[in-house]
């Protein structure tokens, strides 16, 4: 098993926690996390794996930090 820190932002926090420490089987991907949280892949507009762009098929490693955002803008 691996442990991954999952951080949720903006509307993803509605009905969910801000942060999860997730225990996952080895070989789990970002998509597995999205499924677990019931977030549609297309809703996750910005996926940052350890602060850089992550692809939903990417396999996770122990200690990874995954930050998930819906579409956002500002400035």
């Amino acid at each position: 098993m691996i442990t991954v820190e999952v951080r949720l932002f903006a509307t993803f926090r509605e009905g969910r926690e801000k942060k999860y420490m997730m225990e996952l089987p080895k070989g789990s991907t970002i998509l597995d996390v999205l499924n677990k949280l019931q977030i549609h892949e297309e809703e996750a507009s910005i996926i940052l794996l350890n602060g850089v762009d992550g692809d939903s098929r990417r396999e996770l490693s122990h200690g990874d930090v995954l930050s998930l955002f819906p579409p956002v803008g500002g400035g």
Partner: protein
């Protein structure tokens, strides 16, 4: 040509004369309105090297062809002048309701010249225009000024400066509708230098439309696009621009402690999510805006006021290591009331904190003020903001910005500025294209005139690798030109989260006449960008000023997800000049000037640069 009211007001404050001139429609066609037309007038009417705070500088307040028209986000106007902070062209934009109301008086723009011998305000009630005494308003805050004028002149909209502009702070802003700001470049000080306190407007005229039915139809379609766009209809109304705090931090490009660090574990305390959870009363919208990104917040004392934007939260928050939204709300309110630019004010306090940390500013220098310059002190951001506006004690030294402050200690490199204007809330070492827009910006350090964060972080209109240099110069050029066009037609750049170039052409053509194509509107933006560049070159501000602070070029990011990166400006700049059609010194070539219809300035550059 429709969309314009066809009249320019010229107010000479020295002689107290008011004249009305016909708008030159050929110029409006070529330079659009607002920003473009204002820059053209500055270029042709103001000679080189005037002192920005002297009567010889002019202050232009201008609407665009779409300002006040029945299309989405048409509440914008521009302030155009020579900036006292940067010495460059000063171009500052604001929303709210004042711009459309001004245009409804039947005027497209007003040019202020000279200097009044005592405080005055301008009264415009449709065709009735008067210079009136403002002795009773001088020294008053923006909300007091607004209230007084609205009692004297029922139903008027008010644009005003606060004590910051009166005291000629180079960081002072012009505020309209109590809490919307033409913030950057020290435009408030230009107004203050002319003894002009406010402009009160009330109008009853309608913007003439080329095709009323088409305008309605196009407008409905664009509103629908914005309502369906997930950013414009979701993130922005729910969390305001401060929705960015977390994503910028998670990307490791949130500048902390004057850009010494680029990530903090405490960002969520000052995020848009926290603001919404703890302080937000409701959101607010500018004129005809379906996005409504504005914040209305409850203060600690129970009062309800306009809340902070992302840049403000960063400047007073992470940049000063203050993770306290109550204090940030307070500093934001003071900036609105006293008329200061929130970005430059917060960032100047941050620079002062670093100067204190490094021993340049000593305890005895600030002892009499009763305030600290310690990182993370919420009392400091509130206290110094007020002292800066009033030029009290050490606040007087801070009131002219971080560049002049750091330079006075012999360490200008500790000022995080471009062309002496404070950089906004993104560390360019982790967003290469955005860093290029900082370096080349005609008005100095600026994020909004070419927002490369959009493709590099947010994924609009497509996702670009933020660390890569490939194609960034060309992309940046298009963004800078498009923003110049949007500013000049009178719409809000936030509409770009949902709309594209063709959408603007559709709206502009329906209102002004079938004149533009995608190419010609974007080219008008490019023409405006080049004209601004020529203005700066005339002032002796050349490619040597197209640079970033040394820290961002030489010191790798210390912490967080972007650790180890520097900005590679030296590699990007030559490519940028080339895609612009400028020579290696960043001067537009004769061919480029001809292509853009700026041939009248050909000999001029040689003459002025010699």
């Amino acid at each position: 040509m429709y969309g314009y009211m066809g009249k320019i007001l010229r107010v000479n404050l020295t002689n107290r004369t008011i004249t009305k001139e016909d708008l030159d429609f050929e110029l409006a066609k070529k330079y659009l309105g607002a920003r473009g037309l204002g820059v053209k007038i500055m270029m042709d009417e103001v000679p080189a090297n005037v002192d920005p705070l002297s009567p010889e500088n002019k202050l232009i307040i201008a609407s665009g062809g779409l300002t006040g028209a029945p299309v989405p986000t048409s509440g914008r106007y521009m302030v155009i002048t020579k900036s006292p902070l940067t010495g460059t062209i000063g171009i500052s934009n604001s929303g709210g309701y004042w711009g459309p109301q001004f245009k409804a008086t039947g005027h497209d723009l007003v040019i202020f010249e000279g200097k009044a011998d005592k405080p005055v305000y301008l009264y415009i009630n449709d065709d009735q225009v008067e210079i009136r005494d403002a002795g009773h308003l001088w020294g008053k805050t923006v909300s007091e000024t607004t209230k007084t004028l609205q009692e004297e002149f029922e139903g008027c909209k008010v644009l005003a400066i606060g004590p910051g502009g009166e005291n000629l702070s180079l960081l002072s802003s012009i505020i309209n509708d109590v809490d919307r700001a033409a913030g950057r470049g020290g435009v408030g000080a230009v107004m203050g230098s002319k003894n002009l306190k406010a402009i009160a407007v009330k109008g009853s005229k309608k913007v003439p439309l080329y095709d009323e039915e088409k305008t309605k139809e196009v407008s409905r379609a664009k509103v629908q696009v914005l309502r369906e766009d997930p950013v414009a209809s979701g993130g922005l109304p729910s969390y305001g621009s401060a929705v960015l705090v977390n994503i910028i931090n998670e990307s490791g490009i949130l500048p902390v402690k004057n850009f010494q660090e680029s990530y903090t574990d405490e960002a969520d305390k000052i995020s848009g999510e926290s603001l919404a959870e703890k302080h937000l009363v409701k959101n607010s919208a500018c004129y005809r805006c379906p996005i409504a990104c504005g914040r209305v917040v409850k203060m600690a004392d129970g009062s309800v006021v306009g809340g902070p934007e992302y840049e403000t939260i960063w400047a007073f928050g992470a940049d000063c290591a203050v993770y306290d939204l109550e204090a940030i709300n307070e500093a934001n309110l003071l900036c609105n009331e006293y008329g200061l630019d929130t970005i430059s004010t917060g960032a100047t306090i941050a620079a002062a904190m670093e100067l204190y940390e490094k021993g340049y500013i000593k305890d005895e220098d600030i002892a009499a003020d009763g305030l600290s310059l310690k990182w993370g002190d919420p009392k400091a951001i509130v206290g110094w903001t007020k002292k800066m506006a009033l030029r009290e004690g050490f606040g007087d030294k801070l009131a002219d910005g971080s560049y002049r402050l750091a330079e006075s200690y012999g360490v200008p490199d500790l000022s995080m500025t471009v062309k002496k204007q404070e950089l906004p809330a993104y560390d360019p070492r982790g967003v290469q294209g955005h860093g290029l827009t900082y370096a080349v910006n005609n008005r100095g350090g600026c994020h909004i005139k070419g927002y490369m964060i959009s493709p590099e972080i947010l994924g609009y209109p497509e996702k670009l690798d933020r660390f890569s240099l490939e194609g960034k110069a060309a992309y940046t050029k298009v963004f800078l030109d498009l923003t110049a066009a949007i500013d000049s037609i009178g719409l809000c750049v936030f509409s770009t989260f949902g709309l594209g170039l063709s959408d603007y052409v559709d709206m502009y053509n329906a209102v002004v006449g079938d004149i533009y194509t995608d190419e010609s509107l974007l080219e008008a933006g490019e023409r405006i960008w080049n004209l601004e560049k020529l203005f700066n070159l005339r002032e002796g501000i050349d490619s040597k000023a197209d640079k970033l602070p040394k820290r961002l070029l030489e010191d790798p990011i210390q912490n967080g997800p972007s650790k180890g990166h520097v900005h590679k400006l030296d590699e990007l700049l030559p490519e940028y000049y080339a895609v612009r059609g400028w020579d290696e010194n960043g001067i537009p070539t004769e061919e480029t000037l001809e292509r853009l219809g700026l041939e009248e300035y050909k000999g001029y550059i040689i003459k002025e640069m010699a």
